[in-house]
């Protein structure tokens, strides 16, 4: 097969000079050679609705070396959109089957599957990729991956991001006819933690409503699921994938609804409420994945202007999309070059650490922080603990003379350093 003829469409855009291109675009055959080389490795996190599409789109965009990680196995309800899977694959690992199908269909492509949890992979594995694309459906997994890529980020002495430490990440998400695609260049564009407000918290029913004044079928279902289960089957863990468990909750919920005269408890609704099922269709996954891979391709080759930095897509009523440049949160605990923190220079290091732990934004990321200033350990857990312990009772103003100095905070809860910019403010000037 003639490679030039095969990639004719892609080559038109990779080999010709353009007007609306990314910074430093250098057209030529080298770009496709790069995409096909082992120097260009792309990780797809998730092999579900988005993941299947992302893998296909990458393989047909000239990328050869692709890894995919997913801990799930295939379920019948995946088949309305996860087009790489068939009925006979039900129960098999998604990552493995998806990789097999892509490798079999697209000549030359090498998809390597990992059937497992993202938390079990070492940082160096993530570091080895040129770019990471997320096809996830949970905020927690996104936050984890965000902390991984932001953990690689380093700033120079001027507080500028060190280009070589930036791991580009593209994220997609869908719900029904709606979705989003975004590009995260840590240090340059906002990270997940900067824009957590984009994910509104889930509404939960108050327990007293469930127990005393149920009014809707969902109240009856959550009563059976959250209250009755523990009472009737103590010590038994509820498993959303266990059909018998789900049937039990459905039947108890139906009984309760009947007792109160509430209409509308169905098995389908029971599953939806208990599993918090998000509706998902093939077309939306296709749109969002395509946008993600297009942006990945732009990031890797600069062949066109890139998305800066968030695209929202709403197809449920007409078609509406909004491309927005969100701002970084200067106080982001994960990606900021220095979260500003007002500190009393007369406070001790111990008091400073206590202040960190009590901080509403920073504290939740910390359990037992170590603090350093430049190459100096101010206080460190582990082998330097005894050496640095005396510092705990010393004055901050003495340990860190410069107002505006950036301290590095490490903690086992963090996957990269947290940077805190000490502001002594008026107390220091006085």
């Amino acid at each position: 097969m003639d490679d030039a003829e095969r990639w004719r469409d892609l080559d038109l855009l990779l080999t010709r000079a353009g007007r609306l291109v990314g910074p430093g675009f250098e057209p030529g055959p080298e770009l496709r050679e790069f995409l096909q080389s082992p120097d260009c490795r792309v990780l797809c996190v998730g092999a579900g609705g988005l993941g299947c599409e992302i893998l296909k789109d990458l393989a047909l965009s000239g990328v050869v070396h692709i890894d995919v990680i997913d801990m799930d196995t295939i379920d019948v309800s995946n088949l309305n959109r996860q087009f790489l899977f068939r009925m006979k694959d039900v129960g098999q690992p998604k990552a493995t089957v998806a990789a097999e199908r892509i490798n079999a269909r697209v000549p030359g492509v090498k998809v390597t599957p990992v059937f497992g949890r993202i938390e079990d992979q070492p940082a160096d594995w993530y570091r080895s990729f040129s770019l990471i694309i997320l096809g996830l459906d949970s905020l927690e997994a996104r936050r984890y991956m965000n902390s991984v890529v932001c953990g690689f980020l380093e700033y120079d002495d001027e507080g500028q991001p060190d280009q070589s430490t930036i791991k580009p990440m593209v994220d997609g998400g869908t719900e029904g006819f709606k979705g989003h695609a975004r590009v995260i260049l840590p240090g340059f564009t906002p990270c997940f933690e900067c824009t957590l407000w984009l994910f509104p918290p889930q509404t939960k029913f108050p327990l007293c409503t469930l127990a005393e004044t149920p009014r809707s079928p969902a109240h009856c279902i959550e009563y059976a699921h959250l209250i009755l289960w523990g009472q009737v089957r103590p010590g038994e863990e509820f498993d959303t994938d266990n059909e018998e468990h789900m049937k039990w909750v459905y039947e108890r919920a139906a009984e309760r609804a009947k007792q109160y005269g509430i209409q509308g408890v169905t098995f389908q609704l029971t599953q939806g409420v208990v599993k918090n099922i998000i509706p998902a269709i093939a077309s939306t996954n296709a749109i969002i994945s395509a946008q993600c891979v297009l942006e990945a391709l732009k990031t890797l080759t600069c062949f066109s202007t890139g998305l800066d930095n968030y695209m929202m897509y709403v197809g449920s009523s007409g078609l509406y999309s909004l491309t927005t440049k969100y701002d970084k949160d200067p106080a982001c605990p994960v990606c900021s070059p220095g979260v500003p923190l007002d500190v009393d220079p007369d406070a001790t290091l111990q008091q400073f650490i206590d202040q960190l732990l009590a901080d509403p934004s920073l504290g939740k990321h910390l359990s037992a922080p170590s603090v350093s200033y430049g190459s100096t350990n101010l206080y460190a857990h582990g082998i330097f603990e005894a050496d640095t312990r005396p510092n705990l009772s010393r004055r901050m103003g003495d340990l860190v003379a410069d107002d505006g100095a950036v301290l590095t905070v490490n903690d086992k809860r963090l996957r990269g350093p947290m940077r805190v910019k000490v502001r002594y403010g008026s107390a220091m000037r006085a």
Partner: protein
């Protein structure tokens, strides 16, 4: 539904949660015809086959080439040289056993020219990667079938185009993203008034006081307000604030401190339900006044218009200016008993309204000479429940859009001035190079004219012959001719430096005078519609050489499938614009994959 779930319900569970069994039934009885199965067509159909359509037929005249292996997932290396329609059909069938597929190995343009009857057997025709002239013919053919809806999709370099064409898209079970609950607290009916009045809050025990539904609290507050204000409801913002304060004043206190009562929190938040005036949504108002439900209602009218006529009779009669009540209420802080009682008050009113509408339907059917039972009670109920969200969008034909006599030059000019991105945002906000999505529409049409004259697209290799490398054509050489074609598209729309409105300039290709017409090929003029056709965009369109990138095709395939689902299920509004008169009008979608923006044009 019992806990025993049939395999289909399991397979389609995630989409049934959006469009329900009713929408799924519509999908499962839909026969689709796809023209051209390159990546754009294949991806569109893939998404629909997964969703469970009844059947598809692919029309494509090409053989699988190396190029297909670089941009289409629904061909395989072992099928090189085989008919592309056959290969794609077979691979699509693997995705869903309940969908039946077939193919016709034929060039779609030939079928359009020679065999228009072919299209009669489809509910939806999806035409991909085709040119304006042929689409105009196909549009007429599809409309003449009285059945086939047309969807036109195109991926061209980093630009996407989508347009539907059908006489009317009528939406019944609309699923708006957000909607106000149909509470009627500003216009309560006697039973609801009586229910609210039956509560004696002053003497209620603390538990009952804190579990009285907010509807009751607000109606009592409204009643008190009316008595004190000569029957009026709060009007000015000061009055509204005072009304809210009066609601909060009804809270029970202990030692002068208001008790924590969630129902009163909810009441304060929902107070606007009382002083907002009831209005039939403007879009529905437009429907009620539509001639199709009035003087043009005939024996063969769609049941939609019969229902609209019945709703109109209801609004003018029993409804006293209101639509039938929806009948459902949101969850609110209350005891089970009080909530269910309130729910029943709403449900019973909705049932009475539905019965009244039903009587109108039967009467209208009789008048039209149709069997009185030809519209089921279930259907009538459905229309009543969704009355606020009924919509009808009419599509202009492609011929109307393109012909100089009927082209909407002003709308196009406005789009050309507006720049890129949805709602006028996007491009400007991004600080990206000037990138006008309206200009991309003009350039796509210009590319078709370029093709008509040269036999190839701007920047594309001379022929699609094997071995023709991308570098054989210098894309810059094609810019002048593309610019000239673009200026002609503009002048045909009554824009540009030298408007040309001669009757012989035809709907389609517009070949005549492309090379020779004096002045039509001038440069871009800043400050005019033509100024939007700037050098950057011309160069980019030539650079792309009509490339069909898989990612762009996959994006457009997703959008097209969404649009197909909307047209087929009739539960969602298709791509449209809302005019200042709140009339939804059909729109043409331009996807700008350079700036990651989308724009809907009214053309």
């Amino acid at each position: 539904m019992g806990p025993v779930v049939d395999p289909k319900a399991k397979r389609y569970d995630r989409q049934l949660r959006i469009w329900g069994t009713h929408g799924q039934q519509r999908l499962e009885s839909c026969c689709i015809c796809l023209l051209n199965c390159g990546p754009t067509g294949s991806e569109t159909l893939k998404n629909l086959v997964l969703g469970g359509i009844a059947s598809f037929t692919i029309v494509d005249g090409q053989k699988v080439e190396a190029r297909d292996l670089g941009n289409n997932f629904l061909v395989s290396a072992s099928s090189l040289g085989e008919p592309r329609a056959k290969v794609v059909t077979e691979l699509l069938q693997e995705l869903n056993e309940s969908v039946s597929g077939s193919y016709v190995e034929e060039v779609p343009e030939v079928l359009i020219a020679d065999n228009p009857e072919f299209f009669q057997s489809f509910d939806l025709v999806i035409a991909t990667q085709m040119r304006e002239q042929d689409m105009t013919k196909l549009d007429d053919i599809c409309r003449a079938t009285g059945r086939a809806k047309l969807l036109i999709v195109r991926s061209y370099g980093l630009v996407g185009y989508l347009r539907a064409s059908l006489p009317e898209h009528r939406i019944v079970e609309s699923k708006p993203d957000s909607q106000l609950d149909d509470m009627r607290l500003n216009q309560p009916w006697p039973e609801l008034v009586a229910f609210a009045a039956s509560f004696d809050l002053a003497s209620a025990d603390d538990v009952t006081h804190a579990h009285t539904p907010y509807v009751v609290i607000l109606l009592q507050a409204a009643s008190a307000w009316r008595s004190a204000h000569g029957g009026r409801l709060p009007g000015t913002s000061a009055e509204k604030a005072a009304f809210k304060a009066s609601v909060n004043g009804m809270r029970r206190t202990a030692d002068g401190v208001p008790l924590q009562e969630e129902n009163f929190d909810e009441a304060a938040k929902a107070a606007f339900h009382v002083y907002g005036t009831y209005e039939i949504p403007k879009e529905v108002r437009g429907l009620l006044e539509d001639e199709a439900a009035g003087p043009r209602l005939r024996a063969d009218s769609d049941e939609f218009w019969v229902l609209v006529a019945a709703l109109r009779a209801f609004v003018e009669g029993e409804g006293q200016g209101t639509l039938p009540l929806e009948g459902s209420i949101p969850d609110m802080h209350a005891t089970t008993d009080l909530y269910l009682k309130l729910q029943a008050v709403y449900r019973e009113k909705a049932e009475r309204d539905t019965a009244a509408v039903e009587a109108h339907v039967r009467q209208i059917l009789g008048r039209l000479g149709r069997p009185a039972d030809s519209i089921s009670r279930e259907t009538i109920k459905l229309y009543c429940r969704h009355a606020r969200h009924l919509r009808c969008v009419r599509y202009r034909s492609l011929a109307e859009e393109c012909s100089p006599e009927t082209a909407r030059g002003e709308a196009l000019a406005a789009a050309l001035r507006a720049g890129g991105g949805s709602g006028g945002r996007g491009g400007g906000d991004l600080g990206a190079p000037p990138c006008c999505d309206g200009a991309l529409y003009v350039l796509l049409r210009a590319a078709d004219r370029f093709f008509a004259q040269t036999g190839r697209y701007p920047g594309a290799p001379a022929a699609l012959s094997p071995g023709a490398g991308a570098s054989e054509v210098d894309p810059a050489d094609d810019i002048p001719l593309l610019r000239q074609a673009a200026m002609q598209v503009l002048s045909d729309a009554g824009l540009g430096p030298n408007p040309r409105k001669s009757p012989d300039s035809g709907a389609g290709g517009g070949l005549g005078g492309l090379g020779g017409g004096g002045g039509a090929g001038g440069g871009s003029l800043p400050g005019t519609a033509a100024g939007a056709i700037n050098e950057d965009l011309l160069a980019e369109v030539c650079r792309a050489g009509a490339a069909e990138l898989h990612v762009v095709a996959a994006f457009m395939g997703g959008v097209a499938a969404q649009e197909a689902i909307k047209l087929v299920t009739r539960q969602f509004e298709a791509i449209k614009l809302v005019t200042r008169q709140f009339v939804p009008v059909a729109g043409t979608l331009i996807v700008n994959s350079m700036a990651a923006t989308t724009t809907v044009l009214e053309l």
